[in-house]
């Protein structure tokens, strides 16, 4: 499944450009250091974090996309860096558990 197919299937709101990159799994984490240590290229990252370092870490780990859950709004610094680094940022009103379950059901393992 591609990032844009996932965004469509889960009704996610895009705040930066959505690409056609293939998704290679997912992780749910709210500690930046966890993603720095364990985030792998092509993964979708589910988090409630909304600060600039989310985009920085998504870029260094070459993640496919970030889904900010729980109806939280990213700050402007995050959006600016995500645009600059071509990081896809998507928003969900559902919490992390629900989004993870739906992704799993869609076959993202």
């Amino acid at each position: 499944m591609t990032v844009s197919e996932m965004a469509q299937a889960l009704g996610l709101k895009a705040v930066t450009a959505v690409g056609e990159q293939q998704i290679q799994g997912a992780m749910a984490a709210d500690l930046i250091s966890d993603v720095l240590a364990n985030g792998a290229p092509g993964q979708v990252w589910l988090t409630i974090q909304t600060h600039r370092n989310v985009a920085a870490v998504a870029s260094t780990q070459d993640l496919a996309a970030v889904v900010i859950t729980g109806g939280r709004e990213p700050n402007n610094d995050l959006i600016a860096l995500a645009n600059h680094e071509s990081v896809t940022i998507l928003l969900s009103n559902e919490d992390t558990y629900a989004v993870a379950g739906r992704l799993y059901a869609l076959g993202v393992r």
């Binding site: 250091s33 720095l36 240590a37 370092n53 920085a56 870029s59």
Partner: protein, 254 residues
Amino acid sequence: MRDWRADFHLHTVLSPCGDLAMSPATIMARAAEIGLDLVAVSDHNSAKNTPAWRDAAAARGVKALYGLEVRSAEEVDVLTVFDEVEAALAFGQWVYAALPDIACDERVFGEQIVVDGQENILGFEPRLLISGIEHDLETVCATAREHGALVIGAHVDRGVDSILSQLGWLPEGLAIDAVEVTRYTDEQALVEAHPSLAGVPMVRFSDAHLPADIGFQQTLFRVEEPSVAELKLALAGLDGRSALPLRRALSDRS
């Protein structure tokens, strides 16, 4: 006994998020200009610019202390402030040994520059300094105290990287001397919302990453001499010593 205008939360060019203008010499010049007389730098997880800080202070006649802002495994930021460069560097080595070996991608995080007191570049710190280290908050605070530090929970009311954001409340028995409050929050309202902070000494510092923010918030310490031991007495309100956090909300800014 006299009053000292203090700011212990200042980021130099060693912090990846620190502005490139934040050399120890520039920070010290600005501190002197605005009447701060007791100042400490506190870079993320490193004391490598504290020797430059000592040199810059000597040139200005301002009293310097030496700090680090340590990020624990839970991603809680803790300010640690030392009397001497050597103690800060020794604690810094303990921190660095527990810092994940992840390279700093300067493109997205910023450069981590080690300088001397005259703004000469000595080198670049290659390891990303904003990672959480492998030790938990309790261990960080206890070990800092063993090394002689004043220990302060940084920006305790902030939504990220603080005791409240990461742990929900202040754990009982944590080895800290005070918590730092940001410009956005009133002390009384904070205690009402978070009863675990009742009776905990509060300070205000700037957390400056830009020259214009230096000393934006300050704490006034009344002490016999500007040492960690005296500052601890002041925070505890003992022996006639005192600590008065000076709030400046964003709208006060001129």
